[in-house]
Symmetry: C2
Subunit: 333 residues, 2 copies
DNA sequence: TTGTATGCGTTATCAA
DNA sequence: TTGATAACGCATACAA
């Protein structure tokens, strides 16, 4: 039989109030403290999270809303979040929205109705006024690698400017001049930052970015496949290519394989993406590896602090530098 | 202000009992039905899942315990599960255990304490008696592509025998005789079935499996990397290689790249894994693509039926055939 | 078919 | 510092 604080109280010969206080970390007389502890152990008492939640309006649950699980950037961050949460009493409720605004809204609503105590959001679609309700009800939100206009929230970011800058610059130093950049969706901050990094590196070295070099891969594998195919079909090919996300890098690879473009002989290639990708392509791919483990940990910690009411440095923006992992897909020309 | 069934009852001029019955699908007088519906809409009433759960001992939550999120087999099934659950009132609580038995036990315990209504489990480590408690408390479990000895539970499986058989046989038909098989951990059913499929195909064509052809990749990328390196370092190399999981296929690729083994010229290669992998390796990889979408959907539906008390065909074992996607990594010799 | 009343396990208020 | 007791929002047994 499952026991309640009433059973514990009876066995310890104290009142339920006292037991409840014990459970919530209030000070008791040392002796009573011990008595309760013993009773809890004997009865194998476990708190009932639903009853607790009903009273306290907390679910001890953290929502994670992400676009999908096929992106390693997302999954490694979620993994890190879960790991960080293991020592706490929080669990993760997972929701995906496939980059659809309607879906996103729906999921935001569902999770709010479940009384999540906090939210970790990977934003890749517009959300509507539902986010205001989160604010009104004081449900903290941590955004991953993006902003949402009009929403003051904590953010855990990749230093995307720096990443693109570094990648572009290394290509320039290898004497590349015609460096193309496959960007994502223009409306997103992550894309603007990357593009600015790319532009800044180009202009610092007095290189022109003619219009043909900047192509839009729309954050998707298939779109990237098409634009890269088009890009490399032109008479004036770039000698180097920087692709701004993992799924788009996959698309680019597919196109390049199909066109039989030699890497790095005909084209030097750098992709944003995880380290894993660099090991299974041939040649090994030079990638910009994002510090997902640190990001997930940070996001979890930030969120917990907010849940505990510590808004001292709100809104916080933490930026992590990525690492350029140089492999065989780039060369000097 | 958030409204309760009391508010709804008052506005509809009925009792809370009636409203509660309405919400749980009991029959009401048509007029009252309408009145309640109107009131609910006007008040934007939402059920309080915690209160509901406290009374009914249901959390409307389904636990998913998986080894980690870096395996596409896992993530695509989870995605399918979530999609199937969208039209229901269930949400997913996610937990990972990194193939450690202690972790698995811990997670099983945590989720039980959260009153999950059902569990989807990807078993790759031994679990202890905690699973008996699930049975005692009537929490249904669906196992994905594995069995747990001593546990009667529904299972959603890949037809691993058939998969390995088909893959081996196509290699045989391409005149390969020395076909090596990188297997996973022997203690798991998935591995035994694959191995039997491989053996069956070999013996049907009267081919001997000498001991050197069967190597153990331990289900991990790194282990597979090492054994394949060793395997291909021998004087007598196989002419074809079948690798029995996605992570191990990655490890095999790393080894083969490193040793500069020409694929498919020197070695024909088939890997278990997802379709995506086949597109980014060079040459394009022939893979055994598992029907993860269907599996996830089935798992969700099976679990919901059990939660609803329908145990008519318990325990059910559903087996899905995988698809051999032939690309450029195999050739006739 | 509906209303009333009790309890699910906890927290919080108020007295002691 | 502790005890008694009233909520929290809902489901259900029982009566009507």
């Amino acid at each position: 039989m499952v026991s309640t604080i009433h059973d514990v109280a009876k066995m310890a010969d104290l009142s339920v109030g006292t037991v409840s206080r014990y459970l919530n970390g209030y000070n008791l007389k040392e002796e009573n403290h011990q008595r309760i502890e013993r009773a809890i152990r004997k009865l194998e008492f476990k708190e009932n999270l639903m009853a607790k939640g009903l009273r306290s309006r907390r679910s001890h649950t953290i929502g994670v809303i992400l676009w999908n699980l096929s992106d390693k950037f997302v999954t490694s961050i979620v993994t890190a979040v879960e790991r960080r949460l293991e020592s706490t009493r929080y669990n993760l409720i997972l929701s995906t929205y496939e980059k659809s605004s309607e879906e996103l809204d729906k999921k935001l609503r569902v999770l709010k109705d479940r009384f999540i105590d906090g939210l970790i959001l990977f934003p890749q679609a517009r959300a509507t006024s539902i986010l205001d309700e989160y604010r009104e009800e004081n449900i903290p939100i941590v955004l991953i690698d993006e902003e949402i206009r009009g929403l003051k929230a904590d953010r855990v970011m990749v230093d995307n400017f720096d990443s693109a800058f570094k990648a572009t610059e290394i290509l320039i130093k290898l004497n590349h001049r015609k460096i193309a950049f496959v960007e994502g969706k223009k409306s997103f901050l992550v894309n603007r930052e990357q593009r600015e990094g790319y532009m800044a590196a180009m202009s610092r070295h007095a290189l022109a970015v003619d219009s043909g070099l900047l192509v839009n891969g729309g954050f998707s594998t298939i779109k990237s496949y098409h634009v890269v195919k088009q890009l490399m079909g032109k008479k004036e090919r770039p000698t180097a290519l920087l692709v701004s996300s993992q799924p788009m890098t996959v698309g680019a690879l597919m196109a390049l394989y199909e066109l039989n473009v030699g890497i790095p002989d005909e084209l030097s290639l750098i992709g944003f993406g995880d380290y894993g990708l660099s090991m299974i392509t041939r040649p090994f791919l030079t990638v910009i590896d994002k510090p997902t483990a640190a990001m997930g940990k940070k996001a979890a910690e930030l969120l917990i602090r907010r849940i505990n009411g510590d808004y001292s440095d709100f809104p916080r923006m933490v930026k992590f530098k990525s690492k350029l992992v140089v492999k065989d897909s780039i060369r000097e020309i």
